[in-house]
């Protein structure tokens, strides 16, 4: 598509064609191209062939999981209730989706309108991350029609999972509402946008409350398993705080990573405002991430000091812990600080990549690698890997499809 732009292709960014007639829904879905041109462009893209190969292998295995049960697809057991599906799909994807409430707060509450060009990307990253976390959860739980059970039918108000279920459901609704303005511009429904504008402060405040609570609640889930998680990754007093604080820089770093990828691979869809402000915004976000990282680093060691776990640092697990801290916290902290001091967006992008990898490693360590550290180590079933890759590929596909159509990376030209 980037090459087509050079040849004169102009993607749809208004409700009406140059002759004044409105674009039809089909034309908008086809990005203003004819069906032949659209499918030819899709077939030319090598990434689509990779996605097709993943779906060809993965879809039958996902169907098989629902037909033959969880035991066919995973090594899940009473010892290891959370495999790769939740370790990656829930515990990694949710913190990486914290960009939604971070950007909503920055723009709508703190009044930093200079971050407006990247706000919708932050919101979309949050919405899709949460939505696909629920998809992963559904693949793990099975029986999707019973999704409402923990909330309405079989209530467990004393359980952390009850709180997580309600928070994720309500926060997803809030995020959908926050993105309605983009949909309303694209569909030509100005009333919906006006309505959301009236309640945007309420939505943002609700987003902060729900998001901070359940990011912490995901950490609190591990207090169900004292003694199972290795002491260096477990702190009964600070677990919720570790998860909440790390979600702040994780969401911001993921936003930097995603915005960089869109700048490279979807330049055709970005407008000048987005492209011109991206480096400045990246450094601005890096500043927030650096402050969250230094706080996280300190509370991690306060957790170690509180439980007097210093002796574990000299064990093999301790080396692994220090590797995670070095790769996922200290390296990005140094790079983010350097990026801010030198106003260097490229350094901030490297830092964000390290921070994203670091947070993924931390969550997988907590939920999978160090889980049952005194027993045996579980290697996820190969089908679990395939299902995880397939669902994540679907996430990327949907993400790209939304970015290509809705006004997320560009400003809609109609005044509605």
């Amino acid at each position: 598509m980037n090459r087509m732009l050079e040849k004169g292709f102009r993607p749809i960014d208004t409700l009406h064609k140059p002759d004044g007639t409105p674009w039809s829904f089909k034309e908008k879905m086809m990005l203003g191209l004819s069906p032949q041109e659209y499918w030819a462009a899709q077939l030319r893209n090598p990434f689509n062939w990779i996605l097709a190969a993943i779906f060809a292998v993965g879809t039958p295995i996902i169907v098989g999981r629902f037909i033959f049960g969880l035991g066919w697809a995973t090594h899940g057991s009473y010892d290891y209730p959370w495999g790769l599906l939740l370790g990656w799909g829930l515990f990694v994807m949710v913190p990486l989706s914290a960009s939604g409430f971070m950007m909503g707060t920055t723009v709508e509450l703190f009044g930093r309108k200079d971050f407006k060009p990247i706000e919708r990307l932050g919101l979309l990253n949050g919405l899709l991350g949460y939505f696909f976390a629920v998809v992963f959860l559904q693949v793990d739980l099975g029986q999707p029609w019973r999704l409402i059970y923990p909330m309405f039918v079989s209530l467990g108000p004393a359980a952390v999972l009850f709180l997580v279920a309600w928070h994720v459901a309500t926060y997803l609704s809030v995020q959908i509402a926050e993105l309605i303005p983009a949909v309303s511009e694209w569909m030509g429904w100005p009333k919906a946008k006006r309505f959301i504008k009236q309640i945007v402060i309420g939505l943002t405040v609700a987003g902060i409350i729900l998001s901070t609570l359940h990011q912490g609640a995901l950490g609190a889930l591990f207090t169900y398993a004292p003694g199972k998680v290795h002491p260096l990754w477990y702190s009964s007093a600070f677990q919720w705080f570790h998860f909440l604080c790390s979600a702040i820089f994780a969401g911001l770093s993921m936003l930097i990573v995603v915005s960089t990828l869109t700048k490279w691979f979807m330049r055709w869809r970005c407008d000048e405002t987005f492209l011109k402000s991206l480096d400045r915004l990246t450094v601005g976000i890096a500043k927030g991430a650096a402050l969250a990282l230094v706080t996280y680093l300190v509370i991690k060691f306060i957790g170690v000091a509180h439980d007097n776990d210093w002796k574990y640092l000299f064990s093999g697990w301790g080396q692994w812990f220090m590797f995670e801290i070095a790769l996922g916290v200290i390296v990005p902290l140094v790079l983010f600080t350097s990026a801010v001091r030198n106003n260097n967006a490229t350094t901030a992008r490297w830092a964000a990549l390290f921070a994203v990898l670091g947070i993924a490693l931390n969550r997988l360590n907590t939920s999978l690698v160090t889980f049952n550290w005194n027993l045996y180590q579980e290697i996820p079933h190969w089908r679990e890997f395939v299902i995880t890759i397939t669902v994540y590929a679907t996430y990327i596909l949907v993400y790209r499809a939304v970015l290509a159509r809705l006004p997320i990376l560009f400003t809609w030209k109609d005044k509605s």
């Binding site: 480096d279 990246t282 000091a305 106003n343 260097n344 967006a345 490229t346």
Partner: protein, 104 residues
């Protein structure tokens, strides 16, 4: 007329709040000075008596026992962070110059 009334009530509210604050401040100051006079003007002894009174430490324990009890290293990390964070905040908040990035 309405604006005048609003201004007057606003001023009255501020005056009441200041008055209340002064009263509470005077009471707190009086209480601290009286307590200090009871312990021969030793601030650390006053703090120890407060911790004994609230049940945080036993009668026989000292302040050193107390911060050892709440784990000295943890306490020192927190204290260091309280100093380091504002310094770090200031360090990353220096005035902006032109942002640079490698062109692709």
């Amino acid at each position: 007329m309405t604006t005048n009334n609003t201004n007057r009530s606003g001023k009255l509210f501020v005056a009441m709040m200041i008055g209340l604050g002064v009263m509470i401040g005077a009471w707190a100051m009086g209480a601290i000075l009286f307590s200090l006079s009871q312990v021969n003007w030793q601030v650390s002894e006053l703090l120890r008596s407060y911790l004994v009174a609230t049940g945080a430490i036993g009668e026989f324990q000292t302040l050193v026992d107390f911060y050892s009890h709440i784990k000295g290293v943890e306490y020192l990390i927190c204290l260091a962070f309280l100093v380091a964070f504002p310094a770090f905040f200031k360090y990353v908040n220096r005035p902006q110059e032109k942002t640079v990035a490698v062109r692709r």
